[in-house]
């Protein structure tokens, strides 16, 4: 490919990721390839149609992966289900949101990651109802099941809870929050509706 053709391809690939992000979707390089093939922008502008031997899909995906890795606009991460690199445009689909989307379907990991990052970054425990609301959309049964599994899992012994005086349950990670502080923060969070 000429440098010009590479530029056109790069722009088309980035735009395909952007478009997916706009729609709230994460994409693999295969998805990007499919999008470029579907709208004809892959073959036509870059002159690949003149090749005698059509390139293998894996090669094309590798090419696109290389292009996307270069882009300042695009972020990628390994999907939780393994073996797939997922792309998104953080300006349109934030890193936090992208990871939540990736973990949908894996309630336990979804909760663990969210609880740990909240405990680490803000820092704060999170109310258990958070996971019933969008974009988590877990059912009370899924949450209960995940909490039971967490309690039994040696890898997740840092995940625990505290109960505010209102009875509300707050989850936190002891890797990042001491119990006493988490209890204080849960109590404070509940008190905000009385402290305008």
């Amino acid at each position: 490919m000429t440098p010009e053709e590479t530029t056109v391809l790069a722009e088309a690939a980035v735009e395909a990721v952007r478009e997916a992000s706009r729609q709230g979707r994460l994409v693999t390089s295969q998805d990007v390839l499919a999008a470029l093939e579907a709208d004809g922008t892959f073959l036509a502008p870059v002159g690949l149609e003149s090749k005698e031997q059509p390139p293998l899909a894996e090669d094309l995906c590798a090419l696109l992966a290389g292009i996307l890795a270069e882009s300042q606009e695009i972020a990628s991460f390994e999907s939780l289900s393994g073996g797939r690199t997922l792309y998104h445009a953080p300006a349109l689909l934030s890193r936090t949101y992208a990871r939540i989307l990736d973990r949908k379907g894996f309630p336990l990991q979804l909760m663990v990651e969210e609880i740990r990052s909240n405990s680490r970054d803000y820092p704060r425990p999170v109310p258990v109802e958070l996971f019933e609301a969008p974009p988590f959309d877990l059912t009370p049964e899924e949450i209960e099941h995940a909490l039971k599994a967490l309690a039994a899992s040696p890898d997740h012994q840092d995940i625990t809870f505290t109960t505010a005086p209102t009875g509300a349950l707050y989850l936190f990670s002891t890797l990042h929050l001491e119990r006493g502080y988490a209890t204080f923060l849960a109590q404070r969070a509940e008190s905000l509706v009385m402290n305008p």
């Binding site: 992000s21 709230g24 953080p90 300006a91 349109l92 689909l93 934030s94 890193r95 936090t96 949101y97 939540i100 970054d121 803000y122 820092p123 704060r124 999170v126 109310p127 958070l130 609301a133 969008p134 974009p135 209102t166 009875g167 001491e178 006493g180 502080y181 209890t183 204080f184 923060l185 404070r188 969070a189 008190s191 905000l192 509706v193 009385m194 402290n195 305008p196």
Partner: protein, 705 residues
């Protein structure tokens, strides 16, 4: 209306109720140095109301003052500061101000006035009619005894639909210190209703056909407004939503930005579903639903819309419709308010059967708004209810009231958390009926002066959160450690400052807050994680100073300090930065007088210092540190015994708070020993005359002969 360079309407209207004389003054010439709002009010009190005046004396003046940005297209404007000697201030009435939003400020400016000064006392009930140059005192006899809603309706019918009416209810008429004046149904200023009542002034109706002129370039003005809109979050400038979104890296379940696609204003006709991108500028008004935040998700289905102040897209006064209360309590199904006014009713109860977010709580709030917003009762930022509950809990009501009066109270309804209890308790307070009504309508001051309860005893209670001088804490150490404590020492009522709390509650992670703090106040150490406080440092003192100065600026410009300042934003591409120079940029464009951030802050500091001077003069007190800037004992105690600076306590350390006050006085250029502004500080702020007057009374450090 008079045209000026811009921003200012041009005139200050003065109405003497004793003589009926109506006059005007040139705003810029007379009050330009104090901008408007509280600054204008402080200047009037400084110049015209002698020390020792009682709040209800005809000699007290009540100043309704707007500001340069009121009535313009600047987001979150429309605020009127109502300043006078404040009747709930204990043990002496000192300067204080209430702040109302709505559309009164804009109408006053469109009529050609930046402020209205009311003095004297009418010999019969009157209301003030203002239609541009036509200003009249009209008879209010037929309105006297009626609630705020009827007064509003009748005056609106007389003036026409495009007026704004600020009225008092029965509480104000009966000279209850705990009385409000309110316009546009729910936009109230607390504590000043009784002062209007003492002047026989039922209401002010205002209508204006003019406009506010903007001196600067129209294109730049519109661009700046658009930029301002782009950095707005939800109510209280919470810049992240309460739920994860594709647009933001951050969220905060405690954010007041609760509106998201899929939620519905269920009681709108037809119901409105939130759709699209909640980050879009034309979606800002969907972000805030104060009722859903304070009363729970169940409030969505009762939401009609948001009501708000002029040009404010936040619209934090949620309009609710709850048909059940019509049949159950015989009241209107709709009501609106925000924050403490919204949940006025539920806080009279120890608990509610379904919790404070349950349906019973919602009904109690509807009944509370129905009664309090019409009688015109003020809650003193919830202190009324906290006092009531403490009095009851500790058997003090039984001890203080005669058996007959005590037994006449519907305690069965109180114990059952039945909202109908409010039909008993609130009229007692609003109409000042019986001993209970007489005392509670004076605020916490009434407990001290009428029932001999000691202030020291009251200020030990961790639930009552009483601070000093008759008023509660307002975003103190529970939100912002030493910074909150300093701010709460400075006023003669609760501090009403949100500059600091809007920042610490904005929902961004601590690391981002610290980055913004470093840029704005010089060090990441200017802010701590809540309840993980570190020892005092000078950066916190600077932030406290900045918070107070900006609060005064907002109150003088007609802006909402419940939203500003805007140092953080929802914009990822700006690193979540807002813009700390927004106020000065708006001021410069509006007036045509170019002032930078530091220049405008200096004006704010002048106004804040004038408040200090006025307080010192009226107290006759040189040692403000010991006698005014006090901190209640509960701040220095943790019921679980936790030591200061341990994680999970809001307990402060006495020596550290002493250092905090030292550093604060130092950054203000005040005397460390007494907390009094020095001669140099007055001179630096263009207040040499004020300093000179105080020096004559030995109220300036080193002024003793």
């Amino acid at each position: 209306m008079t045209t000026t360079d811009g921003g200012f309407a041009g005139k200050v209207l003065r109405v003497d109720l004793s003589t009926g004389k109506i006059s005007t003054q040139d705003t810029r010439e007379k009050y330009g140095a104090v901008l408007g709002g509280t600054g204008l009010g402080y200047q009037v009190l400084w110049e015209e109301v002698p020390a020792g005046t009682n709040a209800f004396d005809p000699g007290n003046k009540i100043v309704f003052a707007t500001g340069v940005l009121a009535g313009t297209g600047v987001p979150c404007n429309g605020r009127t500061a109502v300043t006078c000697l404040f009747p709930t201030c204990w043990p002496k009435h000192l300067v204080g101000s209430g702040h109302m939003g709505g559309n009164f400020a804009a109408k006053l400016k469109y009529a050609g006035y930046d402020a209205l000064i009311v003095e004297g006392k009418a010999d019969r009930p009157v209301w003030i009619f203002i239609r541009d140059n036509r200003v009249e005192l009209r008879d209010a006899s037929r309105l006297w005894g009626s609630g705020i809603r009827r007064a509003n309706l009748e005056i609106s019918q007389e003036m026409g639909a495009d007026c704004s009416v600020a009225a008092i209810g029965q509480a104000g008429e009966k000279l209850a210190p705990m009385a409000i004046v309110s316009n546009s149904l729910s936009h109230s200023a607390g504590g000043v209703g009784g002062v209007m009542g003492s002047k026989n002034l039922k209401a002010i109706g205002v209508q204006g056909s003019g406009a506010v002129r903007i001196a600067g370039d129209k294109g730049q003005w519109e661009q700046l407004i658009k930029f301002h809109l782009s950095i707005l979050g939800g109510n209280n400038q919470h810049v992240v939503p309460s739920f994860p979104t594709p647009q933001s890296e951050y969220y905060n379940p405690g954010s007041r930005w609760v509106g998201e696609p899929g939620k519905r204003w269920g009681a709108a006709d037809p119901p409105v579903e939130i759709t699209g991108n909640i980050f879009d500028l034309n979606r800002i008004a969907y972000r805030t639903n104060t009722a859903a935040f304070f009363l729970g998700d169940g409030a969505w289905k009762h939401t009609v819309r948001g009501n708000g102040c002029t040009a404010c897209p936040i619209r934090c006064h949620t309009v609710l419709s709850v048909p059940a209360v019509e049949a159950k309590y015989g009241i209107k199904k709709s009501a609106q308010n925000t924050c403490a006014g919204l949940f006025f009713g539920r806080t009279f109860f120890k608990s509610m059967p379904g919790g404070f977010k349950g349906p019973e709580s919602l009904e109690a709030c509807m009944v509370g708004m129905h009664l309090a917003d019409d009688l015109g009762v003020w809650c003193n930022y919830g202190q009324l209810q906290r006092d009531f509950l403490k009095l009851q809990r500790e058997g003090l009501l039984k001890a203080k009231l005669g058996a007959k009066e005590y037994n006449s109270i519907a305690w069965d309804k109180f114990e059952a958390a039945d909202p109908a209890f409010l039909f008993d308790i609130l009229p007692r307070i609003g109409e000042r009926r019986g001993e209970l009504g007489h005392v509670l309508s004076q605020g916490t001051a009434g407990l001290f002066s009428q029932w001999g309860i000691s202030e020291e005893y009251w200020s030990r209670d961790h639930n009552a959160v009483y601070w000093k001088m008759g008023h509660p804490k307002h975003h103190a150490n529970e939100d912002d450690g030493q910074c909150g404590v300093i701010i709460n020492t400075q006023y003669n009522r609760d501090s009403q400052c949100h500059s600091h709390s809007n920042f610490v509650r904005n929902g961004l992670p601590l690391a981002v807050q610290k980055k913004l703090a470093a840029e704005t106040w010089g060090s990441p150490d200017a802010v701590d994680a809540v309840g993980d406080y570190t020892p005092m440092n000078v950066h916190k003192a600077r932030r406290a100073r900045w918070s107070l100065v900006r609060k005064e600026l907002h109150d003088c410009l007609g802006l909402c300090n419940w939203m500003g300042p805007w140092v953080a934003s929802p914009l990822k591409e700006r690193g979540y930065r807002g813009d700390d120079s927004l106020e000065s940029r708006f001021y410069s464009l509006a007036t045509g007088q170019k002032v930078d951030r530091e220049g405008l802050d200096l004006m704010g500091e002048r106004i804040f210092t004038l408040h200090r001077a006025l307080t010192m003069r009226d107290m006759g007190e040189p040692d403000m540190r010991a006698r005014h800037d006090t901190v209640p004992p509960w701040v220095f105690e943790d019921l679980s015994g936790a030591a200061p600076f341990t994680k999970g306590t809001i307990r402060m350390d006495r020596a550290d708070i002493a250092l905090a006050m030292d550093l604060f006085y130092e950054v203000m250029g005040w005397d460390k020993a007494t907390g009094a502004p020095t001669k140099e500080a007055y001179a630096r702020l263009g207040l040499s005359d004020v300093g000179k007057t105080l020096a004559e009374s030995n109220l300036v450090p080193g002024s003793k002969a």
